[in-house]
C-alpha cells in the first residue's frame, strides 16, 4: 500500500464506520433479537437469542494506551481462540466474542497467561475511565495513565471478582475540565493557587477578551503590565478553576506543589433505582505524587472497602451514603469534614439540609 502522494488525495468522508463489517456473525444474525443473559464467572457473559442461539463474551482489561505489539497480541489471541471478532467497552476493556462454549476456558487461560486480567463484569470494579494527562494533553495537572495503572494494580482483585455490592465505576480527570465522567469514585485534579501570569507572552498569544469572558467569577481584567497589554487576576475572587488556562497558556494554573488531587464519591449515570447523580467532594489536597500516587490509593481503598463491607446488595456508593448519611460516611472512612464541603456555587442551597433529619 503506497502512500506517497504528490497532490492531496481527496478524502472519502465515510463518517461512522459500519460495524456490520466487523461484527461477529452470530451477533449480526441475532441483531435486535436477544432474550436474556447470565454471567458464568467473572469476565464471562452468556447471551441467548430468541431463536435459541448463543454467544459467549470474555472480557479482559487492557492498558488503553496500547502499543501496536500489544494490539497484535490481542488480535492473535482473537484468531486462535475467538473467531477473530472483538469489541471494546467504553471503559477500554476488550471483549472476545465466541460461538463455541468450549473455547471459554482456553481463551481465559491464554489471556491471563499473557497478562490481561479477565473480569470487569457484574458487581466488580471495572477499568477506570481514563483521560490523557502528561503523556499527551496540553493542560494536564497529572498523568491519568499513571494514576490509573497504579490504582488498578491495587484494585486488581476486585476487577477479577464480582464481590462488590454493585458495580463500581471510577473515573479520573487530570485537570478541572474533567474529561472523565461522573463516578462512584472520581479522582480529579484540583488546583489550589490562582494562575501565575507570564506577562511577556500574553500580548502575543492570547485573545484577551475571550480569556476575560471565560472566567466563571469575572476575576480577570485586561491590564497594562510594563507598558504591554496583559491581564490581571483578582486573587481574592479567583476560585482556582483553571478555566482561563486552555485559552491562555501564559496563565499557568499548574504548579508541582499547588496542583493537588481531590476525591469525589456518589456519582452515577445509570437510571437504575435512583436518578443519575453527580459525585460529591469528600477529600482534597492530596499530593500529586508520581509515579504511584500512594496517598490517593489509600483514600480510594478506604472508601471502597468501607462501602464493600457496609453497603447492601445493589446499593451504588451514592445510594449507600444516602442510606447511612454523610456523618456516618465521614466517621466510617475517617475523612475530615470541612467548610470546603459546603457548596457555594449556583444552586448550592439545594445541597443543604432543609429539614430536621439528623443522623446521630
Amino acid at each position: 500500500m503506497s502512500t506517497e502522494h504528490q497532490t492531496p488525495r481527496l478524502p472519502d468522508e465515510h463518517g461512522v464506520p459500519d460495524p456490520f463489517l466487523y461484527m461477529h456473525p452470530v451477533m449480526k444474525k441475532n441483531f435486535g433479537n436477544w432474550d436474556w443473559h447470565e454471567r458464568l464467572r467473572p469476565g464471562v457473559l452468556h447471551h441467548r437469542s430468541k431463536s435459541g442461539e448463543d454467544i459467549w463474551t470474555v472480557r479482559a482489561g487492557t492498558q488503553r494506551q496500547m502499543d501496536v505489539f500489544t494490539i497484535r497480541k490481542l488480535c492473535d489471541i482473537a484468531d486462535e481462540f475467538a473467531e477473530g471478532h472483538v469489541r471494546f467497552t467504553t471503559r477500554s476493556n476488550i471483549e472476545y466474542l465466541i460461538s463455541k462454549k468450549e473455547m471459554i476456558e482456553p481463551l481465559v487461560e491464554r489471556l491471563i497467561e499473557q497478562g490481561f486480567p479477565v473480569g470487569g463484569t457484574g458487581n466488580s470494579i471495572s477499568m477506570i475511565s481514563h483521560t490523557q494527562g502528561w503523556l499527551h494533553c496540553d493542560i494536564p495537572g497529572t498523568d491519568a495513565s499513571g494514576v490509573v495503572k497504579s490504582l488498578m494494580d491495587e484494585l486488581y482483585e476486585d476487577f477479577i471478582k464480582e464481590e462488590m455490592p454493585n458495580r463500581v465505576r471510577i473515573t479520573t480527570s487530570c485537570c478541572q475540565v474533567n474529561c472523565g465522567g461522573q463516578g462512584d469514585i472520581a479522582i480529579n485534579v484540583q488546583y489550589t493557587k490562582p494562575p501565575k501570569i507570564n506577562h511577556d507572552l500574553v500580548a502575543n498569544i492570547c485573545e484577551r477578551p475571550a480569556v476575560v469572558a471565560r472566567c466563571p467569577v469575572a476575576a480577570i481584567r485586561p491590564a497594562m503590565v510594563n507598558g504591554k497589554p496583559s491581564l490581571e487576576v483578582d486573587e481574592k475572587k479567583c476560585i482556582c478553576c483553571g478555566a482561563c488556562y486552555p485559552p491562555c497558556p501564559p496563565m499557568q494554573i499548574n504548579g508541582p506543589e499547588s496542583t493537588k488531587l481531590a476525591i469525589w464519591v456518589g456519582g452515577k449515570h445509570s437510571n437504575a433505582r435512583t436518578k443519575p447523580t453527580f459525585h460529591k467532594l469528600v477529600a482534597a489536597n492530596l499530593p500529586n505524587n508520581p509515579p504511584r500516587w500512594p496517598e490517593v490509593a489509600e483514600v480510594v481503598k478506604k472508601i471502597i472497602y468501607t462501602y464493600k463491607e457496609d453497603a447492601r446488595d445493589w446499593e451504588r456508593v451514592g445510594e449507600w451514603i444516602d442510606r447511612i448519611g454523610w456523618p456516618r460516611f465521614f466517621e466510617m472512612t475517617g475523612l475530615g469534614f470541612t467548610k470546603h464541603h459546603l457548596d457555594t456555587w449556583h444552586g448550592a442551597r439545594k445541597s443543604l439540609n432543609a429539614s430536621t433529619h439528623i443522623y446521630f
Binding site: V16, A78, C179
Partner: protein
C-alpha cells in the same frame, strides 16, 4: 476493502532518512516510569518501551524522546505540550496538534499530534482490521493507539506534522474517517445494544450512523459556537453515559408493559429466598411499582414503573422490556465548564423508533437542534447553558415543542411568572391529550402482530 492480511511488520528497510545522523541514540533513563512496570495490571510503560526499542521502526527514536519527556514530567510534575495548528486536506478539525515545549532536550518527539478517528458504531472490530490500523500507525505514526479516548475516538497518538496527512490517507483508505474536535459536532458513541443486549430498545447502530453521517459537515468543518455531542444508549442503564456526557442523549425505553416470565420469577425467588427478593428487588423499585404475590409471582404496576431497569437487571431471564419501543431524548448534559456539571433533561419523553420514517424523524429533530444551537448559542456556550440562559419555555417555543410534565421533577415553586395566557395553554394541553387518547384507541383496533426485527 481488500486488505493484504497484513500481519507481519516490515522488518527490513527502516527509512534511514528519518533516523537522522545519530545512528543509535542512548535510551533515556526512566527510573520513575519504570516503577509503573510492576504490578498485575497491564503496563502502558512496558508498551512504550517496546516501541522505543523496536530499532528497525521509524518511530523508535520518537518514542525514546517521548519517554524522556514523560519521565521529565513525572520528575517536575508539570506537563510540556502546547497546541498549534495542524490539519489534513479537506478537514477543519480532527487532528489534535501537540508540540513539545522541551523539544531541545527531546527533539525526536517535538511534534506528537493525535488523530481522532471515529470507531465503528458499538466498537466492533475484527482482528484483521485492527492489524491494518496497527500497520498504518507503524508506518506513519508512533505505534501508540488508545482504544478509545473519552470522546469515543480511536486515538492515534503521536505523529509528526509531515506524516499526519499520510497517516490519515491510509486510515481513510481502509474505511475510517476523522472524528471531531474543537467547536464542532463531536465523535459519537453507541452501546453494544441490539448487537448483544436484550435490554436494547432501538437500533443504536442505525440511530448513531444516520444522525452523525447526516451532519458530518458539522464535524469535519467546525462552525458551531462550541462542541456538540450525541450519544446513544439502548436503555436507561445508559452504558455510554449519554445523560451526562452528551448534549443530545438518545436513551432507549418502552411505553407498554414490561414482559414477565412468571416461571422464571418463581425460580428466582426459590433460588435467592423471599426475604432477598423483597429487600433487593421489590423494595428497591423507586416508584413502589412492584409487589410479590403470595404464590411468588410478580405483580407489576406498569403505570407507575419509570423503566429504571433495576428489576430487569437483577432478573434478566424473568423480565424484559415491552414491545412498544423507542427513546427518550435529553438535552444539555456536560461537564464543569463553566456553570458546573449538568445532566441532560427530558425534552422528548418518548420518540417511537421502529420504522425508517421514525429514524428519519430522529435525524430531522437532531438537525433542528443543531441548527438552533448554531443560530442561538453564544460563543463557548453548550446547549444546556443556552437553554438555561433563555429558559426552557422559550427554547420549547422556538422548536415548537409542547411542555410536558415528564420534563420536570415537579412544577415551579416560584410565583414570579406572568400567567395571562395560562387558560389557553391548559386547554391546548388537554385537547392534545384527548387527541392522543383517541389516536391510541384507533391504533389498538388495527393492531398488527409483532414483527421480528430483521437482521441488518
Amino acid at each position: 476493502m481488500a486488505r493484504d492480511n497484513g500481519s507481519t511488520p516490515k522488518k527490513n528497510g527502516a527509512p534511514a532518512e528519518k533516523n537522522g545522523s545519530s545512528s543509535k541514540k542512548e535510551l533515556h533513563p526512566t527510573p520513575m516510569l519504570d516503577e509503573l512496570e510492576s504490578g498485575p495490571w497491564p503496563s502502558f510503560i512496558t508498551g512504550l518501551k517496546r516501541l522505543r526499542e523496536a530499532d528497525d521502526q521509524q518511530y523508535a527514536p520518537m518514542m525514546n524522546d517521548l519517554m524522556g519527556q514523560l519521565e521529565h514530567s513525572y520528575e517536575e510534575r508539570m506537563g510540556y505540550w502546547k497546541g498549534g495548528v495542524v490539519g489534513v486536506y479537506g478537514y477543519g478539525g480532527g487532528v489534535i496538534p501537540r508540540f513539545s515545549e522541551v523539544a531541545e532536550q527531546y527533539p525526536e518527539s517535538k511534534e506528537f499530534h493525535t488523530l481522532r478517528v471515529q470507531p465503528p458504531a458499538g466498537f466492533h472490530y475484527t482482528s484483521d482490521i485492527l492489524r491494518s490500523l496497527c500497520d498504518i500507525w507503524e508506518e506513519h505514526g508512533s505505534g501508540l493507539i488508545a482504544l478509545h479516548g473519552q470522546s469515543g475516538d480511536i486515538m492515534f497518538q503521536g505523529c509528526s506534522t509531515e506524516n499526519t496527512q499520510k497517516a490519515f490517507d491510509a486510515l481513510n483508505a481502509v474505511g475510517f474517517d476523522m472524528g471531531g474536535a474543537g467547536a464542532a459536532m463531536r465523535t459519537s458513541m453507541s452501546c453494544v445494544g441490539h448487537a448483544r443486549c436484550e435490554m436494547s430498545c432501538y437500533n443504536e447502530v442505525k440511530a448513531h450512523r444516520d444522525v452523525i453521517n447526516e451532519y458530518l459537515d458539522e464535524m469535519h468543518r467546525p462552525a458551531l459556537p462550541y462542541k456538540f455531542k450525541f450519544k446513544f444508549s439502548g436503555c436507561p442503564n445508559d452504558c455510554v453515559n449519554a445523560i451526562h456526557r452528551s448534549d443530545f442523549a438518545v436513551i432507549g425505553t418502552w411505553r407498554d408493559d414490561m414482559k414477565v416470565n412468571q416461571d422464571e420469577v418463581k425460580k428466582y425467588v426459590a433460588n435467592v429466598g423471599r426475604k432477598y427478593m423483597i429487600d433487593s428487588v421489590i423494595a428497591n423499585c423507586p416508584t413502589r411499582a412492584l409487589s410479590l404475590n403470595d404464590d411468588d409471582t410478580l405483580d407489576v404496576d406498569n403505570r407507575s414503573c419509570v423503566r429504571c431497569m433495576h428489576c430487569l437487571n437483577v432478573m434478566p431471564k424473568a423480565l424484559s422490556p415491552g414491545d412498544d419501543k423507542g427513546a427518550s431524548i435529553l438535552l444539555g448534559g456536560k461537564r464543569s465548564l463553566k456553570v458546573g456539571d449538568t445532566m441532560g433533561t427530558v425534552i422528548v419523553p418518548f420518540m417511537k423508533l421502529d420504522t425508517d420514517e421514525d429514524y428519519e424523524k430522529l435525524v430531522e429533530f437532531a438537525g433542528e437542534i443543531l441548527e438552533f444551537f448554531g443560530d442561538n448559542a453564544l460563543d463557548h456556550e453548550r446547549i444546556g447553558e443556552t437553554i438555561d440562559r433563555i429558559g426552557l419555555p422559550a427554547f420549547l417555543e422556538a422548536l415548537d415543542i409542547d411542555a410536558d410534565p415528564n420534563m420536570v421533577n415537579h412544577p415551579r415553586t416560584s410565583s414570579y411568572v406572568r400567567t395571562d395566557d395560562f387558560t389557553e395553554e391548559a386547554d391546548k394541553y388537554l385537547r392534545k391529550k384527548a387527541e392522543e387518547k383517541s389516536g391510541k384507541e384507533d391504533a389498538a383496533n388495527t393492531n398488527e402482530p409483532d414483527r421480528p426485527v430483521a437482521a441488518e
